[in-house]
């Protein structure tokens, strides 16, 4: 039985005791998967697993608290579940986790930069380390590494790190390619250059808040400071500086909590490289607190704890 069939079988068996199980089905074309909320055995027939299953379904879990929910997770998605559990935002006993070994997902943004508009896709299939797609009547055969989500290039945990059921074989973690990370490359620029870069990027933000709403760790949901009227923390005006202000708030609220899932950047309709900001915050918090979010269910958040003397922070005299 292949991974998908094994997964379907696991889900069908568990479904009678659950309100629903979240997975993915094909969306409006072969490059787009869409979340599938399975309630019946027939729903399970529509499940897919593969390189288009980009959405982190963990984002829906806190709002479903109180129900008995199953969730299918990739390695990176499972870190969000662990982090939510460690923050007491989920009840473990109401949660059934279906893990599998992920083989990487496609980045539509990178694919668009290679092929132009992706409107006319006839088929897309991953074959070993290549993505074979038929677009505009032409066959294209691309190295998967050139078009996968950036996070997949350095993924050290492709297998769900927490699961009640695990379908298929464990995948071997990536050995990150040598060379500089996107953040390192970016930081080689001078401060004025970096500032100009962000001004240009933030200019086109439409303040749709999809970055926030797709983030599994953004749990204030309907009560975000960005839309609070009283106090009026952030101006409604969607200028580059206000938009940047909102991003910095997001980053600060995610400090030590961000699980580097990349959903914020993927969701952004304006292709703003939000991951760079998150990567920086993760670099700082892991250096300061020697901690990585979403790995340990028992961990206490660095910014929720206090040590008289922090091991890694030099005290002022």
């Amino acid at each position: 039985m292949n991974v998908l069939e094994t997964m379907k079988k696991c889900i069908r068996e568990a479904l009678p005791d659950l309100d629903m199980v979240m997975g993915w089905e094909q969306g409006f074309d072969t490059l787009h998967a869409t979340p599938l909320f399975m309630e019946t055995a027939e729903d399970v027939d529509r499940l897919i697993l593969g390189p288009t299953c980009v959405q982190s379904l963990a984002v829906h879990l806190p709002s479903l608290k109180g129900k008995k929910i199953g969730v299918v997770v990739k390695g990176c998605d499972s870190r969000a579940v662990v982090q939510l559990l460690s923050e007491n935002l989920l009840n473990r006993e109401n949660l059934v986790i279906f893990g599998f070994g992920c083989d990487g997902v496609v980045s539509l943004s990178r694919l668009k930069k290679k092929l132009g508009a992706l409107d006319f896709i006839e088929s897309a299939e991953k074959k070993d380390d290549r993505l074979c797609i038929e677009i505009n009547g032409e066959q294209q055969d691309l190295p998967f590494d050139d078009i996968c989500a950036p996070k997949c290039l350095t993924c050290s945990r492709p297998n769900a790190i927490i699961s009640d059921h695990f379908a298929g074989p464990q995948r071997t973690p990536r050995i990150p390619a040598k060379g500089k990370t996107a953040l390192e490359k970016f930081e080689e620029k001078s401060l004025p250059e970096r500032f100009d870069f962000w001004k240009a990027q933030m200019q086109r933000c439409v303040r749709c808040y999809a970055c926030r709403d797709s983030c599994p760790m953004c749990v204030c949901r309907d009560h975000c400071v960005a839309v609070s009227r009283n106090p009026h923390f952030v101006s409604q005006e969607a200028t580059a500086s206000e938009n940047f202000m909102f991003q910095l708030i997001h980053v600060m609220h995610l400090a030590g909590r961000c699980v580097s899932c990349g959903e914020c950047e993927r969701a952004c309709p304006m292709d703003i490289p939000l991951g760079l900001l998150r990567a920086k915050s993760t670099e700082v918090t892991s250096a300061l607190f020697n901690q990585e979010a979403g790995l340990d269910q028992e961990a206490v958040l660095p910014l929720l704890s206090f040590n008289i003397e922090e091991e890694t922070i030099e005290e002022h005299d």
Partner: protein, 347 residues
Amino acid sequence: MNNIFILRKDIDPWIKRMAEERTVFAPVHEGDAVVYRACDSGLRVELDTMPTTSPKEIVFPQNETLLTYTRGSGNEDGSVGVETTETLPSGKAVIFGTRPCGARGLLIFDQVYNNERIRDAYYAARRENTLTITIACNRPRPTCFCNSVGGAPDDSKGSDIMLYPLDDGFVAEALTSGGEELLALAPSSPAGEKAVKAKAKAGQAIETMGSPMDLSEVRKKFDLCFTDLAFWEKHSGKCLSCGICTYLCPTCYCFNITDEGSEEKGKRLRSWDNCMSFNFTAEASGHNPRSAKAMRLRNRIGHKFVYYPELHEDRLACCGCGRCITACPSSVDIRNIVKAVQEYSHE
């Protein structure tokens, strides 16, 4: 009116000439997004794909300063005066390279902000000074459904100039006197036989689209399923309640008003709002009549396919551009929801 032919390479000088008198907003690439920007040349202009954003922002910007205020001096009775200055927009503009659905979106706006009953001064000031140059679609996207909502890939309604694409250029036709003036600025040659060919091509495009959706029961059925929250929960389950669909939509016209600044001085700002956000209907009392995203998505569908047509002679408030489908991070497909309403039956 006369048809002329404009070579692709002549789009650049044409935009340059138009830009001498007007701000020309045309689609350009930024990241992988295609957005409308003020252009004074045609060099970066992208005319072959559907822009990510819609042309509505040119007549209805995301942020509009309605007035500015400063604190006046104190009065004898202890009260404090406020001095306000109105900030009406001025200047002429061109929307260059929208698709027919985008032009239709502006007509949907007009019914709300500029008509016999209502004249929104800010909207009208922009709209009445803006001309629209539309490109017909020879190749509708799989997510396009203008043919289901009263439009077509070669629909010229709401446009001042239509451009019908051929490989090496565009057959252009002016539909209004404003359009004629703009077209006179374009380096061109007579279109001759090309006109027939280009228009036939655009006219046939509709045949490549799926058959139009049957929407005949939507209004009646919407009343039936309105209170069936389970139905709406099912269809909104994966929705993230973000603002992508409304902000990219050519027809979503809701706004918010806030005072931005200090007690001393600032501005009254009108900015886009969206019905998918919790705050949209949050009341000062703390009550929220649309507290769940199921109710909010129901409103989005209801507004476009039921409430607006009831008010505006059966016209739908969706132009079928498909932006909400392609840009949604969860790939929510509005067509599926409308279809489910059409096919709704009581359990």
